[in-house]
């Protein structure tokens, strides 16, 4: 694409280009290929989040807070409320984890709100051929987070229950059996169900976020396609222009809800999973 960027673009080419990642290390095989755009945007947003969070918490005053501190306090209080309602164990990890997930996922999703052509266009003029700005529309990002959460679930389960009980539950729950023979008979089913349950969690977490954000991005791209390659002297431009404006506007407004909701769901499910891992069956 980058070589023929001044050629009139075809619709398929445009969409394909928009869905292509900036990849490096392609020679080493698919697995070792890095989506540099996802990585860099996620890193930048994480740094932004950490920077603001630390700065605000350093400056936090017990007196009358500033507006930004107030806003952060509201978010923290909200997340803390959710955590307290949902998670009944004691854990120093879960509050900070929840707010980090919420903040980071929200910021990454928010990249979807920025006009879909802006950053890629700027990047192209800076010599970068491909750029996808929404890290959460890349399954690598969402699976990365979901797998981290999955590992945390296991860790919380292990530390809250102890090794024996943790692995014992693989064989004794969810089907509780009375008597030695029944216990042995139920063990394979319990193990099977438990393995499926554990495997489904990170999968659903990652796919839900990825699916929503990917679909959102795709719809933004499709809206953009309406006036693709249009000239000011063509009638269709004047018809499709307003349509693109209105639909882009509506979808962006709707997307405010989606990105917040998806961030909230990711956080909420993480809390619920960790809570379930900490509780005894």
């Amino acid at each position: 694409m980058s070589a023929e960027q001044h050629a009139p673009e075809s619709m398929t080419g445009y969409i394909k280009h928009h869905l292509a990642h900036l990849q490096v290390n392609q020679d080493a095989g698919i697995f070792w290929t890095v989506h540099l755009d996802s990585v860099l945007f996620k890193l930048a947003l994480a740094l932004l989040f950490v920077f603001f969070f630390l700065r605000l918490s350093r400056r936090a005053t017990s007196g009358v807070p500033g507006k930004l501190q107030c806003a952060l306090e509201m978010v923290v209080e909200f997340v803390d409320g959710v955590v307290k309602e949902t998670f009944h164990g004691h854990s120093k990890l879960i509050g900070p984890l929840a707010i980090s997930i919420f903040g980071l996922v929200f910021l990454m999703n928010f990249m979807d709100m920025i006009p879909v052509d802006w950053l890629p266009w700027a990047a192209q003029h800076a010599g970068v051929p491909y750029l996808r700005v929404v890290p959460t529309a890349d399954p690598n990002t969402t699976f990365g987070m979901a797998i981290t959460v999955f590992l945390l679930i296991q860790w919380v389960g292990l530390t809250h229950k102890g090794v024996g009980k943790f692995f014992g539950e693989f064989l004794t729950a969810p089907f509780h059996a009375e008597g030695g023979l029944m216990k042995v008979a139920m063990a394979p089913f319990n193990l099977l169900l438990r393995l499926i349950e554990e495997a489904v969690r990170p999968l659903s977490l990652a796919l839900r976020l990825f699916g929503n954000m990917y679909a959102g991005e795709l719809i933004f791209i499709l809206i953009a396609v309406m006036t693709l390659g249009a000239g000011l002297n063509e009638l269709m431009t004047w018809i499709m222009g307003p349509v693109q404006f209105v639909s882009g506007f509506i979808w962006t407004v709707f997307h405010i809800l989606v990105i917040t909701l998806q961030a909230f769901i990711f956080m909420m499910l993480t809390i619920v999973y960790l809570s379930m891992a900490a509780e005894h069956h």
């Binding site: 806003a71 509201m74 052509d117 802006w118 266009w121 953009a224 006036t227 249009a230 693109q244 404006f245």
Partner: protein, 156 residues
């Protein structure tokens, strides 16, 4: 990819959303934040006020206690004084009364002893006369003793 109308319309739509949020969303958030700030400021001010009031009340209470103590001491002093006065007065009264009664008793004793003396004198003279009669009955020498008797009567 070149700069075209698509990019511009995207930007317009984006700014329309920004405008929408600014117009209808942001004020609510800011209002909530400001209300929260106000509440916190009010709470802090109320706490300060309460602290000052408490200190003032403490001071006042201490002053009250102090003045009450002074008053109590005054009352105690006064009571002591009054008691002393009463005791002094009672003492004086008692002494006066005692003196009066003593004087009265003395006067009575005086008059009684006087009367007793008179009585005694009369009885002694009667006794003397009776004694004289008895002597006279044995020694009918009235003449011999007459001078003696007379002398006796005059002496008494």
């Amino acid at each position: 990819m070149s700069l075209n109308i698509t990019l511009v319309i995207q930007g317009l739509a984006f700014f329309a959303v920004v405008w929408l949020v600014m117009k209808f969303g942001w004020p609510h958030i800011i209002a909530a934040i400001e209300e929260r700030q106000k509440k916190i400021a009010e709470g802090l001010a109320a706490a300060d006020r309460a602290k000052a009031e408490l200190a003032a009340a403490d001071n006042k209470a201490a002053e009250e206690v102090k003045s009450a103590r002074v008053k109590a001491a005054e009352i105690l002093d006064k009571a002591h004084q009054q008691a002393n006065q009463a005791i002094e007065k009672a003492k004086g009264d008692a002494i006066t009364e005692g003196n009066r009664q003593l004087a009265a008793a003395r006067a009575e004793i005086e008059s009684l002893s006087h009367r007793a003396k008179e009585e005694l004198r009369k009885q002694v003279s009667l006794l003397a006369v009776a004694g004289a009669e008895k002597i006279l009955k044995r020694e009918i020498d009235a003449n011999a003793h007459k001078a003696l008797l007379d002398q006796l009567a005059s002496e008494i």
